[in-house]
Protein backbone atom coordinates (compact mmCIF):
# COMPACT_ATOMS: atom_id res chain seq x y z
CA UNK A 1 0.00 0.00 0.00
CA UNK A 2 2.78 2.33 0.93
CA UNK A 3 4.66 1.49 -2.21
CA UNK A 4 1.57 2.41 -4.07
CA UNK A 5 1.53 5.77 -2.33
CA UNK A 6 5.13 6.36 -3.10
CA UNK A 7 4.77 5.17 -6.65
CA UNK A 8 1.76 7.34 -7.14
CA UNK A 9 3.62 10.30 -5.79
CA UNK A 10 6.70 9.99 -7.92
CA UNK A 11 5.26 12.37 -10.44
CA UNK A 12 6.01 15.25 -8.15
CA UNK A 13 8.79 15.70 -5.67
CA UNK A 14 7.67 14.16 -2.45
CA UNK A 15 8.88 12.56 0.72
CA UNK A 16 9.43 9.01 1.70
CA UNK A 17 7.50 8.53 4.94
CA UNK A 18 9.95 5.85 6.00
CA UNK A 19 12.89 8.18 6.13
CA UNK A 20 12.84 9.85 9.51
CA UNK A 21 13.15 13.59 9.77
CA UNK A 22 15.72 14.66 12.36
CA UNK A 23 13.22 16.85 14.22
CA UNK A 24 10.78 13.95 14.30
CA UNK A 25 13.32 11.71 16.00
CA UNK A 26 14.44 14.39 18.40
CA UNK A 27 10.97 15.33 19.60
CA UNK A 28 9.93 11.70 19.83
CA UNK A 29 12.94 10.99 21.98
CA UNK A 30 12.24 14.02 24.14
CA UNK A 31 8.62 13.16 24.80
CA UNK A 32 9.47 9.54 25.46
CA UNK A 33 12.22 10.51 27.87
CA UNK A 34 9.88 12.85 29.69
CA UNK A 35 7.22 10.23 30.07
CA UNK A 36 9.59 7.45 31.08
CA UNK A 37 11.10 9.62 33.78
CA UNK A 38 7.65 10.73 34.86
CA UNK A 39 6.35 7.19 35.23
CA UNK A 40 9.62 5.86 36.63
CA UNK A 41 10.16 8.44 39.32
CA UNK A 42 6.67 9.66 40.11
CA UNK A 43 3.70 7.57 39.16
CA UNK A 44 4.89 4.00 39.52
CA UNK A 45 6.57 4.43 42.93
CA UNK A 46 3.36 6.04 44.20
CA UNK A 47 1.31 3.24 42.75
CA UNK A 48 3.65 0.64 44.24
CA UNK A 49 3.53 2.31 47.62
CA UNK A 50 -0.25 2.35 47.54
CA UNK A 51 -0.38 -1.30 46.43
CA UNK A 52 1.96 -2.30 49.25
CA UNK A 53 -0.16 -0.42 51.74
CA UNK A 54 -3.28 -2.03 50.39
CA UNK A 55 -1.75 -5.50 50.57
CA UNK A 56 -0.68 -4.74 54.13
CA UNK A 57 -4.16 -3.57 55.04
CA UNK A 58 -5.72 -6.64 53.53
CA UNK A 59 -3.26 -8.89 55.31
CA UNK A 60 -3.90 -7.02 58.54
CA UNK A 61 -7.61 -7.54 58.16
CA UNK A 62 -7.13 -11.21 57.42
CA UNK A 63 -4.94 -11.58 60.51
CA UNK A 64 -7.56 -9.77 62.56
CA UNK A 65 -10.27 -12.04 61.23
CA UNK A 66 -8.13 -15.10 62.01
CA UNK A 67 -7.60 -13.87 65.51
CA UNK A 68 -11.32 -13.28 66.01
CA UNK A 69 -12.01 -16.75 64.64
CA UNK A 70 -9.51 -18.33 67.00
CA UNK A 71 -11.00 -16.42 69.92
CA UNK A 72 -14.49 -17.52 69.05
CA UNK A 73 -13.35 -21.11 68.74
CA UNK A 74 -11.61 -20.96 72.13
CA UNK A 75 -14.72 -19.48 73.72
CA UNK A 76 -16.84 -22.18 72.15
CA UNK A 77 -14.53 -24.91 73.48
CA UNK A 78 -14.62 -23.33 76.92
CA UNK A 79 -18.39 -23.17 76.90
CA UNK A 80 -18.61 -26.74 75.75
CA UNK A 81 -16.28 -27.86 78.53
CA UNK A 82 -18.26 -25.88 81.07
CA UNK A 83 -21.47 -27.35 79.79
CA UNK A 84 -20.07 -30.87 80.05
CA UNK A 85 -18.86 -30.13 83.60
CA UNK A 86 -22.23 -28.77 84.57
CA UNK A 87 -23.90 -31.80 83.12
CA UNK A 88 -21.61 -34.17 85.05
CA UNK A 89 -22.23 -32.20 88.22
CA UNK A 90 -25.96 -32.30 87.71
CA UNK A 91 -25.73 -36.05 87.21
CA UNK A 92 -23.78 -36.43 90.45
CA UNK A 93 -26.29 -34.30 92.31
CA UNK A 94 -29.12 -36.33 90.90
CA UNK A 95 -27.48 -39.61 91.89
CA UNK A 96 -26.77 -38.33 95.38
CA UNK A 97 -30.35 -37.14 95.70
CA UNK A 98 -31.60 -40.47 94.57
CA UNK A 99 -29.39 -42.26 97.12
CA UNK A 100 -30.52 -39.86 99.84
CA UNK A 101 -34.11 -40.44 98.93
CA UNK A 102 -33.64 -44.19 99.12
CA UNK A 103 -31.98 -43.81 102.49
CA UNK A 104 -34.72 -41.54 103.77
CA UNK A 105 -37.44 -43.87 102.61
CA UNK A 106 -35.81 -46.91 104.18
CA UNK A 107 -35.20 -44.99 107.41
CA UNK A 108 -38.80 -43.84 107.45
CA UNK A 109 -39.90 -47.40 106.88
CA UNK A 110 -37.73 -48.60 109.74
CA UNK A 111 -38.97 -45.85 112.02
CA UNK A 112 -42.53 -46.60 111.11
CA UNK A 113 -42.00 -50.28 111.85
CA UNK A 114 -40.47 -49.65 115.28
CA UNK A 115 -43.08 -47.01 116.08
CA UNK A 116 -45.71 -49.45 115.11
CA UNK A 117 -44.21 -52.06 117.42
CA UNK A 118 -43.96 -49.58 120.24
CA UNK A 119 -47.49 -48.39 119.80
CA UNK A 120 -48.67 -51.95 119.67
CA UNK A 121 -46.73 -52.80 122.87
CA UNK A 122 -48.05 -49.69 124.65
CA UNK A 123 -51.58 -50.53 123.61
CA UNK A 124 -51.09 -54.06 124.85
CA UNK A 125 -49.81 -52.80 128.20
CA UNK A 126 -52.66 -50.33 128.54
CA UNK A 127 -55.17 -52.97 127.72
CA UNK A 128 -53.63 -55.24 130.32
CA UNK A 129 -53.64 -52.48 132.93
CA UNK A 130 -57.21 -51.63 132.16
CA UNK A 131 -58.16 -55.23 132.37
CA UNK A 132 -56.47 -55.48 135.78
CA UNK A 133 -58.15 -52.36 137.09
CA UNK A 134 -61.46 -53.55 135.75
CA UNK A 135 -60.90 -56.86 137.43
CA UNK A 136 -60.05 -55.20 140.71
CA UNK A 137 -63.00 -52.83 140.63
CA UNK A 138 -65.22 -55.68 139.55
CA UNK A 139 -64.05 -57.74 142.46
CA UNK A 140 -64.74 -54.92 144.91
CA UNK A 141 -68.07 -54.33 143.43
CA UNK A 142 -68.89 -58.00 143.45
CA UNK A 143 -67.76 -58.23 147.09
CA UNK A 144 -69.94 -55.34 148.20
CA UNK A 145 -72.86 -56.65 146.31
CA UNK A 146 -72.35 -60.09 147.65
CA UNK A 147 -72.09 -58.90 151.24
CA UNK A 148 -75.13 -56.72 150.87
CA UNK A 149 -76.92 -59.64 149.46
CA UNK A 150 -75.68 -61.94 152.11
CA UNK A 151 -76.55 -59.50 154.90
CA UNK A 152 -80.00 -59.26 153.74
CA UNK A 153 -80.10 -63.02 153.41
CA UNK A 154 -78.65 -63.90 156.82
CA UNK A 155 -80.09 -60.87 158.52
CA UNK A 156 -76.87 -60.29 160.18
CA UNK A 157 -75.13 -57.08 159.79
CA UNK A 158 -71.84 -57.45 158.38
CA UNK A 159 -71.02 -53.96 159.13
CA UNK A 160 -68.15 -55.05 161.24
CA UNK A 161 -65.24 -54.63 158.95
CA UNK A 162 -63.26 -57.44 160.22
CA UNK A 163 -66.05 -59.84 159.88
CA UNK A 164 -67.00 -58.61 156.53
CA UNK A 165 -63.50 -58.87 155.21
CA UNK A 166 -63.13 -62.32 156.59
CA UNK A 167 -66.35 -63.32 155.00
CA UNK A 168 -65.46 -61.95 151.64
CA UNK A 169 -62.10 -63.55 151.75
CA UNK A 170 -63.52 -66.86 152.62
CA UNK A 171 -66.08 -66.49 149.95
CA UNK A 172 -63.59 -65.62 147.40
CA UNK A 173 -61.37 -68.40 148.50
CA UNK A 174 -64.28 -70.73 147.97
CA UNK A 175 -64.81 -69.16 144.57
CA UNK A 176 -61.18 -69.62 143.74
CA UNK A 177 -61.33 -73.14 144.91
CA UNK A 178 -64.28 -73.70 142.69
CA UNK A 179 -62.42 -72.16 139.84
CA UNK A 180 -59.07 -73.82 140.42
CA UNK A 181 -59.50 -76.19 137.47
CA UNK A 182 -59.77 -73.24 135.05
CA UNK A 183 -56.75 -70.95 135.50
CA UNK A 184 -53.82 -71.09 137.82
CA UNK A 185 -52.64 -67.47 137.40
CA UNK A 186 -56.19 -66.31 138.02
CA UNK A 187 -55.99 -67.96 141.41
CA UNK A 188 -52.75 -66.19 142.16
CA UNK A 189 -53.89 -62.77 141.21
CA UNK A 190 -56.74 -62.37 143.65
CA UNK A 191 -54.25 -63.26 146.42
CA UNK A 192 -51.90 -60.53 145.27
CA UNK A 193 -54.69 -58.06 145.18
CA UNK A 194 -55.87 -58.78 148.61
CA UNK A 195 -54.68 -55.47 150.10
CA UNK A 196 -56.42 -53.52 147.35
CA UNK A 197 -59.65 -55.31 148.14
CA UNK A 198 -59.20 -54.51 151.76
CA UNK A 199 -58.65 -50.87 150.98
CA UNK A 200 -61.67 -50.68 148.77
CA UNK A 201 -63.76 -52.29 151.46
CA UNK A 202 -62.74 -49.67 153.95
Amino acid sequence: MLNAVIAASTEGETVNPLIPQPYDIIWSAVVFLVIVVFFWLKILPKMQEMLDKRAEAIEGNIAKADEAQAKAEAALAEYTAQLAGARAEAGEIRDAARADATKIVSKAKEDATSEQARIAAAAQAQIEAERQSALVSLRTEVGTLAIDLASSVVGESLSDDKKAAKLVDSFLADLDAADKGAKKPAAKKPVAKKPAVKKAAK
Binding site: M1, D24, F32, V36
Partner: protein, 285 residues
Protein backbone atom coordinates in the same frame (compact mmCIF):
# COMPACT_ATOMS: atom_id res chain seq x y z
CA UNK B 1 14.24 20.62 2.74
CA UNK B 2 12.28 17.43 2.57
CA UNK B 3 8.93 18.88 1.81
CA UNK B 4 8.48 21.61 -0.66
CA UNK B 5 4.99 22.93 -0.57
CA UNK B 6 4.50 24.50 -3.90
CA UNK B 7 0.99 24.58 -5.14
CA UNK B 8 1.71 22.82 -8.42
CA UNK B 9 3.38 19.94 -6.70
CA UNK B 10 0.61 19.60 -4.26
CA UNK B 11 -1.97 19.56 -6.97
CA UNK B 12 -0.16 16.87 -8.87
CA UNK B 13 0.19 14.87 -5.75
CA UNK B 14 -3.43 15.22 -4.83
CA UNK B 15 -4.44 14.06 -8.21
CA UNK B 16 -2.15 11.08 -8.15
CA UNK B 17 -3.12 10.07 -4.64
CA UNK B 18 -6.75 10.34 -5.56
CA UNK B 19 -6.23 8.09 -8.53
CA UNK B 20 -4.61 5.58 -6.29
CA UNK B 21 -7.03 5.67 -3.42
CA UNK B 22 -10.28 6.45 -5.08
CA UNK B 23 -10.42 5.22 -8.62
CA UNK B 24 -14.19 5.37 -8.77
CA UNK B 25 -14.25 9.10 -8.20
CA UNK B 26 -11.76 9.85 -10.92
CA UNK B 27 -14.48 11.72 -12.72
CA UNK B 28 -14.84 14.10 -9.83
CA UNK B 29 -11.17 14.83 -9.20
CA UNK B 30 -9.22 17.90 -10.06
CA UNK B 31 -10.87 21.25 -9.79
CA UNK B 32 -14.16 19.98 -8.45
CA UNK B 33 -13.11 20.50 -4.80
CA UNK B 34 -12.29 16.96 -3.85
CA UNK B 35 -9.48 16.85 -1.31
CA UNK B 36 -7.80 13.51 -1.65
CA UNK B 37 -5.62 12.21 1.14
CA UNK B 38 -1.90 12.39 0.50
CA UNK B 39 1.31 11.39 2.15
CA UNK B 40 2.23 15.01 2.56
CA UNK B 41 -0.34 15.36 5.29
CA UNK B 42 2.19 13.73 7.54
CA UNK B 43 4.69 16.46 6.82
CA UNK B 44 2.87 19.67 7.62
CA UNK B 45 4.48 23.08 7.48
CA UNK B 46 6.84 24.05 10.22
CA UNK B 47 5.49 26.34 12.89
CA UNK B 48 8.58 27.02 14.98
CA UNK B 49 12.29 26.66 14.29
CA UNK B 50 11.76 25.87 10.65
CA UNK B 51 14.63 24.13 8.87
CA UNK B 52 16.45 23.24 12.08
CA UNK B 53 16.61 19.90 13.78
CA UNK B 54 14.25 21.32 16.40
CA UNK B 55 11.55 22.10 13.88
CA UNK B 56 8.07 22.03 15.39
CA UNK B 57 5.14 21.39 13.14
CA UNK B 58 1.49 20.54 13.77
CA UNK B 59 2.17 16.91 14.59
CA UNK B 60 4.95 17.73 17.02
CA UNK B 61 2.66 20.28 18.61
CA UNK B 62 0.01 17.60 19.03
CA UNK B 63 2.63 15.46 20.71
CA UNK B 64 3.37 18.22 23.19
CA UNK B 65 -0.29 18.77 23.97
CA UNK B 66 -1.02 15.09 24.45
CA UNK B 67 2.09 14.60 26.53
CA UNK B 68 0.97 17.45 28.79
CA UNK B 69 -2.51 15.94 29.07
CA UNK B 70 -1.08 12.54 29.87
CA UNK B 71 1.19 13.94 32.56
CA UNK B 72 -1.63 15.95 34.11
CA UNK B 73 -4.01 13.00 34.04
CA UNK B 74 -1.63 10.68 35.84
CA UNK B 75 -0.36 13.39 38.15
CA UNK B 76 -3.89 14.24 39.28
CA UNK B 77 -4.91 10.59 39.36
CA UNK B 78 -2.09 9.55 41.68
CA UNK B 79 -1.79 12.69 43.79
CA UNK B 80 -3.67 11.33 46.76
CA UNK B 81 -3.78 7.59 46.47
CA UNK B 82 -5.95 5.84 49.00
CA UNK B 83 -6.10 2.22 50.02
CA UNK B 84 -9.80 2.27 49.31
CA UNK B 85 -9.85 3.91 45.89
CA UNK B 86 -12.14 6.69 44.80
CA UNK B 87 -13.84 6.51 41.44
CA UNK B 88 -11.13 8.54 39.72
CA UNK B 89 -8.34 6.59 41.32
CA UNK B 90 -9.94 3.33 40.23
CA UNK B 91 -9.74 4.42 36.61
CA UNK B 92 -6.08 5.39 36.90
CA UNK B 93 -5.34 2.17 38.76
CA UNK B 94 -7.15 0.14 36.16
CA UNK B 95 -5.06 1.76 33.43
CA UNK B 96 -1.78 1.24 35.25
CA UNK B 97 -2.74 -2.28 36.30
CA UNK B 98 -3.46 -3.19 32.70
CA UNK B 99 0.21 -2.81 31.85
CA UNK B 100 1.49 -3.95 35.22
CA UNK B 101 -0.55 -7.15 35.48
CA UNK B 102 -1.47 -8.09 31.93
CA UNK B 103 1.84 -7.29 30.29
CA UNK B 104 4.71 -6.92 32.73
CA UNK B 105 3.88 -9.45 35.42
CA UNK B 106 2.23 -11.92 33.09
CA UNK B 107 5.25 -12.20 30.84
CA UNK B 108 8.19 -11.25 33.00
CA UNK B 109 7.06 -12.31 36.44
CA UNK B 110 6.92 -10.10 39.50
CA UNK B 111 10.61 -9.30 39.86
CA UNK B 112 11.61 -8.59 36.28
CA UNK B 113 8.19 -7.16 35.62
CA UNK B 114 8.85 -4.45 38.13
CA UNK B 115 12.27 -3.74 36.66
CA UNK B 116 10.95 -3.04 33.20
CA UNK B 117 7.61 -1.63 34.23
CA UNK B 118 8.52 2.07 33.74
CA UNK B 119 9.58 1.51 30.14
CA UNK B 120 6.58 -0.65 29.32
CA UNK B 121 4.12 1.70 30.99
CA UNK B 122 5.58 4.76 29.30
CA UNK B 123 5.52 2.99 25.96
CA UNK B 124 1.92 1.85 26.28
CA UNK B 125 0.42 5.15 27.33
CA UNK B 126 2.52 7.23 24.97
CA UNK B 127 1.52 5.12 21.98
CA UNK B 128 -2.09 4.98 23.14
CA UNK B 129 -2.58 8.74 23.46
CA UNK B 130 -0.64 9.43 20.29
CA UNK B 131 -2.66 6.90 18.33
CA UNK B 132 -5.95 8.16 19.64
CA UNK B 133 -5.32 11.71 18.37
CA UNK B 134 -6.15 10.33 14.93
CA UNK B 135 -9.85 10.58 15.71
CA UNK B 136 -9.88 13.53 18.10
CA UNK B 137 -11.54 16.47 16.36
CA UNK B 138 -9.18 19.36 15.49
CA UNK B 139 -6.14 17.18 16.05
CA UNK B 140 -7.28 14.62 13.48
CA UNK B 141 -3.95 12.98 12.93
CA UNK B 142 -2.25 10.28 14.93
CA UNK B 143 0.83 11.77 16.56
CA UNK B 144 2.49 8.41 16.03
CA UNK B 145 1.94 8.48 12.29
CA UNK B 146 5.34 9.86 11.35
CA UNK B 147 8.20 7.46 11.43
CA UNK B 148 10.13 9.26 14.17
CA UNK B 149 8.01 8.11 17.06
CA UNK B 150 7.59 4.42 16.14
CA UNK B 151 11.28 4.28 15.26
CA UNK B 152 12.35 5.87 18.53
CA UNK B 153 10.21 3.47 20.51
CA UNK B 154 11.44 0.52 18.48
CA UNK B 155 15.01 1.54 19.24
CA UNK B 156 14.11 1.80 22.92
CA UNK B 157 12.59 -1.67 22.76
CA UNK B 158 15.64 -3.00 20.90
CA UNK B 159 18.13 -1.52 23.33
CA UNK B 160 16.06 -2.68 26.28
CA UNK B 161 15.86 -6.32 25.32
CA UNK B 162 19.54 -6.48 24.35
CA UNK B 163 20.43 -4.79 27.61
CA UNK B 164 18.23 -7.24 29.53
CA UNK B 165 19.85 -10.23 27.83
CA UNK B 166 23.44 -9.07 28.23
CA UNK B 167 22.91 -8.01 31.83
CA UNK B 168 21.51 -11.42 32.71
CA UNK B 169 24.10 -13.53 30.91
CA UNK B 170 25.74 -12.56 27.61
CA UNK B 171 26.61 -16.17 26.83
CA UNK B 172 23.09 -17.45 27.36
CA UNK B 173 21.57 -14.53 25.52
CA UNK B 174 23.55 -14.96 22.31
CA UNK B 175 23.43 -18.72 22.51
CA UNK B 176 19.65 -18.74 22.84
CA UNK B 177 19.23 -16.06 20.22
CA UNK B 178 21.55 -17.46 17.58
CA UNK B 179 21.82 -21.16 18.33
CA UNK B 180 18.42 -22.40 19.42
CA UNK B 181 18.56 -25.61 21.43
CA UNK B 182 17.44 -28.96 20.08
CA UNK B 183 18.74 -28.46 16.56
CA UNK B 184 21.40 -30.73 15.01
CA UNK B 185 24.56 -28.69 14.47
CA UNK B 186 24.65 -28.64 10.63
CA UNK B 187 21.30 -26.92 10.65
CA UNK B 188 22.91 -23.97 12.45
CA UNK B 189 24.49 -23.02 9.12
CA UNK B 190 21.04 -22.04 7.96
CA UNK B 191 19.33 -21.25 11.26
CA UNK B 192 21.92 -18.95 12.76
CA UNK B 193 21.89 -16.32 10.01
CA UNK B 194 18.10 -16.42 9.99
CA UNK B 195 17.97 -16.00 13.74
CA UNK B 196 20.53 -13.20 13.57
CA UNK B 197 18.48 -11.28 11.07
CA UNK B 198 15.13 -11.99 12.68
CA UNK B 199 16.25 -11.08 16.17
CA UNK B 200 18.56 -8.16 15.59
CA UNK B 201 17.24 -6.65 12.38
CA UNK B 202 13.67 -7.67 11.75
CA UNK B 203 12.36 -7.05 15.25
CA UNK B 204 12.85 -3.27 15.41
CA UNK B 205 11.85 -2.90 11.78
CA UNK B 206 8.58 -4.74 12.23
CA UNK B 207 7.83 -2.86 15.42
CA UNK B 208 8.32 0.43 13.60
CA UNK B 209 6.44 -0.48 10.46
CA UNK B 210 3.50 -2.14 12.17
CA UNK B 211 2.71 0.92 14.22
CA UNK B 212 3.54 3.45 11.53
CA UNK B 213 1.56 1.79 8.77
CA UNK B 214 -1.48 1.22 10.95
CA UNK B 215 -1.59 4.87 11.82
CA UNK B 216 -0.78 6.15 8.32
CA UNK B 217 -3.36 3.99 6.63
CA UNK B 218 -5.95 4.70 9.29
CA UNK B 219 -5.51 8.39 8.76
CA UNK B 220 -5.62 8.14 4.98
CA UNK B 221 -8.80 6.07 5.16
CA UNK B 222 -10.54 8.57 7.41
CA UNK B 223 -9.47 11.48 5.22
CA UNK B 224 -10.68 9.59 2.20
CA UNK B 225 -14.11 8.84 3.63
CA UNK B 226 -14.75 12.26 5.06
CA UNK B 227 -13.46 14.23 2.09
CA UNK B 228 -15.47 11.99 -0.19
CA UNK B 229 -18.53 12.73 1.94
CA UNK B 230 -17.83 16.44 1.64
CA UNK B 231 -17.45 16.09 -2.09
CA UNK B 232 -20.61 14.05 -2.56
CA UNK B 233 -22.74 16.32 -0.45
CA UNK B 234 -21.58 19.67 -1.76
CA UNK B 235 -19.96 19.17 -5.15
CA UNK B 236 -21.69 16.22 -6.75
CA UNK B 237 -24.95 16.57 -8.63
CA UNK B 238 -28.18 14.69 -8.40
CA UNK B 239 -28.36 11.21 -7.09
CA UNK B 240 -24.57 11.08 -6.59
CA UNK B 241 -25.21 12.97 -3.36
CA UNK B 242 -26.58 9.70 -1.99
CA UNK B 243 -23.09 8.22 -2.09
CA UNK B 244 -22.23 10.73 0.59
CA UNK B 245 -24.45 8.85 3.04
CA UNK B 246 -22.49 5.69 2.39
CA UNK B 247 -19.09 7.29 2.67
CA UNK B 248 -20.14 9.08 5.86
CA UNK B 249 -21.29 5.79 7.36
CA UNK B 250 -17.98 4.20 6.42
CA UNK B 251 -16.13 7.14 7.93
CA UNK B 252 -18.09 6.66 11.14
CA UNK B 253 -17.41 2.95 11.27
CA UNK B 254 -13.73 3.45 10.55
CA UNK B 255 -13.48 6.12 13.25
CA UNK B 256 -14.66 3.56 15.76
CA UNK B 257 -12.35 0.99 14.22
CA UNK B 258 -9.49 3.46 14.67
CA UNK B 259 -10.11 3.48 18.44
CA UNK B 260 -9.73 -0.27 18.45
CA UNK B 261 -6.59 -0.04 16.32
CA UNK B 262 -5.15 2.65 18.56
CA UNK B 263 -5.56 0.52 21.69
CA UNK B 264 -4.55 -2.67 19.94
CA UNK B 265 -1.36 -1.22 18.46
CA UNK B 266 -0.32 0.26 21.78
CA UNK B 267 -0.94 -3.12 23.40
CA UNK B 268 0.85 -5.06 20.67
CA UNK B 269 3.90 -2.82 20.74
CA UNK B 270 4.19 -3.05 24.51
CA UNK B 271 3.46 -6.76 24.55
CA UNK B 272 6.08 -7.53 21.91
CA UNK B 273 8.65 -5.51 23.79
CA UNK B 274 7.84 -7.52 26.90
CA UNK B 275 8.06 -10.75 24.93
CA UNK B 276 11.47 -9.78 23.54
CA UNK B 277 12.68 -9.01 27.04
CA UNK B 278 11.27 -12.30 28.26
CA UNK B 279 13.08 -14.23 25.52
CA UNK B 280 16.28 -12.40 26.30
CA UNK B 281 15.97 -13.29 29.99
CA UNK B 282 15.06 -16.92 29.40
CA UNK B 283 17.56 -19.52 30.53
CA UNK B 284 16.67 -21.86 27.70
CA UNK B 285 14.19 -21.60 24.89
Amino acid sequence: MWVDHTSTQERTLLASAATWLLPFTSSGEGDSGFHAPSINEFFPEAIFFADTIFEVNRIVLIRFVMLALLLVFFWLGTRRMKIVPTRGQSIVEMALDFVRVNVAEDLLGKKDGRRFLPILTAMFFLILVYNITGIIPFLNIAASSTVGLPLTLAIVSYVTFIYAGIKKSPKNFFKNSLFPAGVPWPVYIIVTPIELISTFVIRPVTLTLRLLMNMVVGHLLLVLFFSATQFFFFNADGFLKLFGVGSLAFGFVFSIFEILVAVLQAYVFTLLTAVYIQLALAEEH
